[in-house]
Symmetry: C2
Subunit: 165 residues, 2 copies
DNA sequence: CTGATTGCAAATGCTTTGCACGCCA
DNA sequence: TGGCGTGCAAAGCATTTGCAATCAG
């Protein structure tokens, strides 16, 4: 895990007059141990491997903290839970495409898209703060190969889109 | 309410071998009685004014039906409930900007944005199905006038962004 | 008739909270 | 030492579901 992250949270904690605790350290390091998207529950499980006494409540509370500190981005993938993106700290603007066929989530970045969103926003008299683009799509090659082949490692989060309830 | 809507749902119901009921008619007409965004609960309240015996369960079930029939679009505004957009039936591609200052939701359309999203999607080997852009922004003129003045009637949904729990 | 639909209440699943105890600064 | 932080269980909330009664075709 990037030690800069731990540091940035520590700064944030100091600035806010909060306290650095063993539990927070554990949860933060669990959050940034991989660069895959994760859910609150997945983070809870990871943190429990580091410290079996970790409680769900503290995970949720620390998650809010990390989001507030801009270390983590909370995104909505259309399932019924929040998804957290640890790569946000490193690469602030990227968006997500969910493949309807295989349920995989593909991250992408496009500076034109970002720029255009900003223009549109300003044209309406607003100052852009955050934009999120979510695309649902079918795999074009599905028919050809019979399976969804868009499994390019670098573009994958390794995470399945959970179904709606 | 646009009578074409009722008709389109009737067709859908026939095609699926379902049944047309008094409750469904009531809920559908409540849904399209205004062209503002609404939540399940807001629809429930509206429907109860037409028929006080309307039940929440039937509202939810009919909502799914309308979404499946492509009469309604389900969008996520970052509060903790689904928002439904009745204008989708008429104007399929528009997106939403939520003003952080006043909480208002502004709808907008931009064909460039749409086109660019499609390109990006295809470039990654997918066939676009649906895209949603959600922008959070500050009101640029807030400081000048002291209040969020972007209350241009035609662009407003009249709906406040509900806070996160 | 007969299976789709409804209404109610109970169940779900994620997330938040109240409160007593514990621990950081 | 004074509070902030933690853990647990309970509460909250939007949404879904089981089931018996009802109704559309």
């Amino acid at each position: 895990m990037d030690s800069g992250i731990q540091e940035r949270l520590t700064d944030f904690i100091r600035r806010k007059g909060l306290r650095q605790t063993r539990q927070r350290d554990t949860i933060v390091s669990a959050a940034f141990s991989k660069d895959e998207l994760f859910s609150a529950d997945e983070l809870f499980e990871r943190a429990r491997k580091l410290d079996s006494k970790t409680s769900r409540a503290t995970v949720y509370r620390t998650l809010s903290l990390m989001v507030e500190a801009n270390l983590l981005r909370e995104i909505d993938l259309g399932d019924n839970q929040a998804t957290y993106d640890p790569k946000f700290a490193v690469k602030p603007s990227h968006n997500h495409l969910a493949c309807i066929d295989c349920g995989r989530v593909v991250e992408f970045e496009d500076s034109h898209l970002e720029l255009l969103n900003d223009c549109v926003t300003r044209r309406m008299g607003f100052k852009p703060v955050q934009q999120s683009v979510r695309i649902e799509a079918n795999c074009e090659q599905l028919r050809l190969k019979g399976r969804c082949p868009n499994l390019i490692a670098t573009r994958l989060t390794g995470r399945r889109l959970r179904k709606k309830r």
